[in-house]
């Protein structure tokens, strides 16, 4: 009697989850009716963090590209939103979608530049690119120069309506981002990326076009970063070059992903939520909170390199069915 094994993706847990998530999304959508404005704002902040963490994880954990310059695309998204909504007079929510696209459009040619570097030098290179973009943007008078620019597109709207609208946009954004990420990882691209991440040379030899796949990820995540940038601009009603292009965004993203766990979809979400509460608690401590964050980051990388989520789930289960597993089926090969 030999047991039969089947290659499956997902377990019983995974079948229940889509139902839970749909319910969750619906519940969240109804929130503005019941929730006071400050809490809606908090949710928007949390959603933005989750998008940033998920995108950075996609780039680094799946794409194998560690970048500390993604704030370039956050900035491009933010400025594009302001430009399209104010200067071009488009509907701000349409402008949001377009701003994300603009980010992607910039990412394509930039990828040719940064891909000439690898490893740690790639990381710094992306940062230098972000600095250069900032220096160029600051020269443009229409975009407010060095002191930044305000978003006027919402001036006709009442505050409650505006916050609710931004809330729903952020909700839609996070839904789309997570959905795309899951679909991407279950797709051929996702498989290719996992292969590249595990062994670049072997993947190449098997016919995976490493460069093209990486470029695709790079461009796709930049759309996500642009989306986040647009949302940030909408929430703050203002874009300031030193803030929006700040490398602190990279620090925060790295921290969220490392804490949560690189290379899984759940990890960054976990990390983002954890970070949100941490910075909510600690932001009064000023510089100390960043020092603590830094030390915590080092501790986790050294002691639990798979992140807190990785440590908790330890390959036993995952919320999103993206990994293949071998499981015993109930059938047996009879004689």
């Amino acid at each position: 009697m030999t047991k039969l094994y089947a290659v499956t993706r997902g377990s019983k847990l995974n079948k229940v989850l889509p139902v839970i998530f749909t319910a969750l999304i619906l519940a969240l959508a109804l929130l503005p009716k019941f929730l006071a404005i400050p809490y809606q704002v908090k949710f928007v902040q949390a959603f933005i963090l989750i998008i940033l963490a998920t995108m950075w994880n996609l780039l680094a954990g799946f794409g194998g590209l560690v970048s500390i310059g993604q704030q370039a695309f956050i900035g491009i998204g933010a400025y594009s939103l302001v430009y399209l909504a104010d200067v071009q007079g488009l509907n701000p929510f349409l402008a949001l979608a377009l701003a994300a696209a603009v980010s992607g459009i910039f990412a394509f040619p930039l990828s040719f530049l940064v891909f000439r570097l690898s490893g740690g030098y790639f990381a710094i290179g992306t940062w230098v690119i972000a600095e250069i973009i900032k220096l160029f943007v600051v020269q443009v008078k229409t975009l407010g120069g060095g002191s930044g620019i305000s978003l006027a597109a919402f001036s006709g709207m009442g505050r409650e309506t505006r916050i609710a609208a931004i809330y729903w946009s952020a909700l839609a954004a996070i839904f789309l981002t997570l959905l795309s990420t899951i679909l991407l990882m279950r797709s051929k691209l996702g498989l290719a990326l996992t292969a590249i991440r595990d062994d670049q040379t072997a993947a190449g030899v098997l016919g995976v076009n490493v460069l093209r796949n990486r470029r695709t990820v790079f461009v796709l995540v930049s759309i996500g970063f642009g989306l986040a940038g647009g949302l940030i601009a909408m929430s703050n009603l203002r874009v300031q070059p030193d803030d929006i292009f700040s490398v602190n965004y990279s620090a925060i993203m790295i921290f969220m992903v490392v804490i949560g766990g690189l290379g899984t979809i759940e990890g960054p979400i976990f990390g983002a939520i954890l970070y949100y509460f941490l910075q909510d608690r600690l932001k009064d401590y000023g510089t100390w909170y960043l020092i603590i964050l830094g030390l915590l980051g080092i501790a986790i990388v050294s002691l639990a390199p798979e992140g807190l989520w990785g440590w908790i789930s330890r390959n036993k289960f995952s919320l999103f069915a993206t990994k293949y597993r071998i499981s015993q089926t109930s059938k047996e090969k009879g004689a």
Partner: protein, 287 residues
């Protein structure tokens, strides 16, 4: 004549960039670690000298700070970074980035964000008149000479000394280095110690000619990085040349418009990345 002046100033500044960069280059060469906190350590040294110089004279302050930088490098490498080498390419990057954040914020906490400088008295303003229109500052000249000497010194060290050979062997094949009796953990510590020592020298000289704040670490890192890339990976002399080219680029840009200096440097970097990504003097394969 203004252009000649600009070029010479840029050349001399290049020496400073080479100083800031050679440690970065060495650490990467031996361990494939890109130390994202390299610039912050430079600035840390400058602050150290500023703090000590309040109680003693400048020379003594420098003499005390630099070995401390080396020791710090050794301890951090052996205590934290060595462990991360086996955890994939991401871990050292994350850890050095965390170092960067910690250093900047500790400095902010201790020294506040006010601009500081390393006071060197008359030395900072001394200059030599070469011709009617050409003046060379003593400090920039001194910095350049130190930069060249350090590059030379490191080159000789790596080529002819027992430990230098061990560093190169370890960088080629750490497993084989074990087999000839080299303790890689210790060697890596030495590399980082030298790297941070060099960063310290760069930081102190930087602090003598420019005002600085805790947030200047990243600026130093970017200049160091651009010097390494322009010059070509794996070559100390390349890093020196890269620093000089960067310095000259910035200087010419600043001559056109004062605020264009840094941007011009970035553009030179981008140009090299597009036209000659291996750098101006890249290391040949195998040597």
């Amino acid at each position: 004549m203004i252009w000649t002046n600009a070029i010479i100033q840029g050349l001399l500044t290049g020496g400073l960039y080479a100083l800031l960069a050679c440690g970065l280059s060495l650490i990467f060469g031996v361990m494939r670690i890109v130390n994202l906190s390299h610039g912050d350590f430079s600035i840390l040294a400058a602050y150290g000298v500023v703090a000590l110089a309040m109680h003693t004279n400048l020379i003594l302050a420098i003499v005390l700070v630099l070995p401390v930088m080396a020791l710090l490098g050794y301890l951090l490498q052996r205590g934290v970074l060595n462990r991360s080498l086996s955890k994939g390419a991401l871990a050292p990057l994350l850890i050095t980035f965390a170092f960067s954040i910690i250093i900047q914020n500790v400095l902010l906490q201790v020294f506040s964000s006010d601009n500081r400088s390393v006071q060197s008295g008359r030395f900072a303003s001394m200059s030599f008149k070469i011709t009617k229109n050409l003046q060379i500052g003593a400090l920039p000249l001194f910095t350049f000479i130190v930069g060249v000497l350090l590059t030379l010194g490191l080159h000789y060290f790596l080529t002819y000394s027992r430990v230098g050979r061990a560093l190169r062997a370890s960088s080629d094949d750490p497993g084989a280095a074990d087999l000839v009796g080299i303790n890689n953990k210790h060697i890596y510590g030495i590399a980082t110690a030298i790297g941070l020592f060099a960063a310290g020298i760069g930081g102190v000289l930087f602090g003598m000619r420019t005002q600085f704040a805790p947030s200047f670490g990243p600026v130093a890192l970017i200049f160091a990085f651009e010097s390494v890339i322009i010059g070509g990976l794996g070559s100390l002399w390349g890093t020196l040349i890269g620093g000089i080219v960067l310095g000259i680029g910035q200087s010419i840009g600043a001559q056109i418009q004062p605020s264009y200096g840094v941007l011009a440097g970035h553009l030179v970097f981008i140009a090299i990345l597009i036209l000659r990504p291996q750098g101006l003097m890249p290391k040949q394969k195998g040597k």
